[in-house]
Amino acid sequence: ARQHVFLLPEYLKDASKKMKSGLMFIKLVNPCSGEGAIYLFNICLQQLFEIKVFKEKHHSWFINQSVQSGGLLHFATPMDPLFLLLHYLIKAGKEGKFQPLDQVVVDDKFPNCILLLKLPELEKLLRHVTEERVNPEIDKKKYYKFSKEKTLKWLEKKVNQTVAALKTNNVNVGARVQSTAFFSGDQDSSGKEEDYIRYAHGLISDYISKELSDDLSKY
Amino acid sequence: LLPCEVPVNQPAPVGRFFTPAI
């Protein structure tokens, strides 16, 4: 049987112990490309993780008393589910009307997207990127519509947080280096603010559509 | 993690033949 090697945050270990199906690998949309991608969903903590894979040629694993070809190394990193919800809200937003969430987050290519509706504090999250309406007559149900300028404001916050993280983690945002091997610890950390913002915008753009990325760049 | 591709997924007597060196 195929085996995979994962780097996971330590606290997830007992999540898989507490509930057999505590952790689920699910296929959802990649908000940048629209293609499918694997995510890890933590049912207990209702948390979403993106999975990135380190892939280099001519590698394999010895795992205990077995050998596993490919030598892939998977990383699970917590991801803000709003990037995924945004993908559906923008699609629905094109119709220009307010809709209930369970009519927005539907996807026959990735049916598991409905798991996103179970996330805690969803309404709080949605306030960052949508206008909402409550229809008093019908069962107090909430209706949402994608709001571009709220979203851009939210993304701007993300970019600023990312700039701060790039600085504390000493990520080289200057001229492109051929390989991480050349990263020198003391690279000119005085990297211009402009470079940090451009780099952060590029990173965030890996989680939003091209169109939104261009809007954000102008914004 | 090996610097070579062993193109199989199967049991192997790793403990007998392989001593990881730090």
Binding site: H4, V53 | R16
Partner: protein, 299 residues
């Protein structure tokens, strides 16, 4: 013979030597070089030198160190013991080359073939004797490869010494025959006491003579080939016999330098992506590209 160093780590090489007889530092000596275990696909190859003053060659001959090939293993052991007893005029030194050292030399990225390894080992032992102050006047060596080149190389390396490289030197010169006995005793003992770090299954040591054409040896190799790891390190992986069994029974392992992919080929393929497609399929951000990270599309 104390081969405990080899028993501790049998993946490199180990050198053994007798004390240097005082007379060998005073009088001109003859020195013989020979090896044991050059042909087998199993176990170490041993190079040995034996030296004694020219004036005592008759005594060495009297020890009946006749052509070592005609001696049985027990006769060799007894003779070796005799030589040690008469240690006041006979000196020896050995260099035990493990199968792992032989294999990794021959299969390394920079090829270091068996002849070069042999020549360098022999010359290293002669140098050792000189460094110990032995007054080496003559060196006699059994041929390995082309005698002329070998003779030339050794003569160049040791200009002040009369070098003779000759076929069947071990039956012509007693010092070579004595060296041959030392080498064979060491090899036999190393093989007999071989420690399989791979914890051999059912410690099956029924491998015959170790020579490639010995059916017992071939059967043993086939019994102990492991698809991922090949053989225990007792086996010389660089031997044709071992390689042909690996090609049949073991997995093809690919190293990054073993597939010298043609770089321009890669360029050519991307040339087929029309510009639009490439710009549309947005590449991951450089943060991820520089770290070899990509979204996992499947598990």
């Amino acid at each position: 013979m104390d081969l405990s160093e080899l028993e501790r780590d049998n993946t490199g090489r180990c050198r053994l030597n007798s004390p240097v007889p005082a007379v060998c530092r005073k009088q001109p000596c003859a020195l013989g070089v020979d090896e044991a275990g050059r042909g087998p696909v199993l176990g170490p190859m041993v190079y040995a030198i034996c030296y004694c003053p020219l004036s005592r060659l008759a005594d060495l001959e009297a020890l009946k160190v006749a052509d070592s090939k005609t001696l049985s293993e027990s006769e060799r052991d007894r003779l070796f013991a005799r030589m040690k007893e008469d240690g006041d005029f006979v000196g020896w030194a050995l260099d035990v080359l493990s199968p792992n050292l032989i294999s990794t030399s021959m299969l390394g990225r920079v090829k270091y073939n068996l002849n070069s390894l042999s020549h360098d080992t022999a010359a290293g032992l002669v140098q050792y004797a000189l460094d110990q102050g032995v007054k080496v006047a003559q060196v006699f060596v059994d041929t390995v490869g082309m005698p002329e080149t070998y003779q030339q190389r050794l003569q160049q390396r040791f200009p002040g010494i009369e070098v003779t490289v000759k076929a069947k030197a071990d039956s012509l010169y007693p010092v070579v025959s004595a060296a041959s006995i030392c080498a064979k005793v060491a090899r036999d003992q190393a093989v007999k006491n071989w420690k399989f770090v791979e914890k051999l299954q059912d410690s099956d040591t029924d491998y015959g003579s170790g020579y490639p054409n010995d059916p017992k040896t071939k059967a043993w190799l086939r019994r102990h080939v492991e698809p991922v790891f090949g053989f225990p390190q007792f086996v010389r992986f660089s031997w044709r016999t071992a390689q042909s069994i690996l090609e049949k029974e073991a997995e093809d392992v690919v190293w990054d330098d073993s597939v010298a992919e043609d770089q321009e080929g890669v360029g050519r393929i991307t040339a087929y992506f029309d510009e639009g497609l490439r710009s549309r399929t947005r590449l991951p951000h450089r943060y991820f590209q520089e770290r070899g990270l990509a979204p996992a599309a499947t598990l």
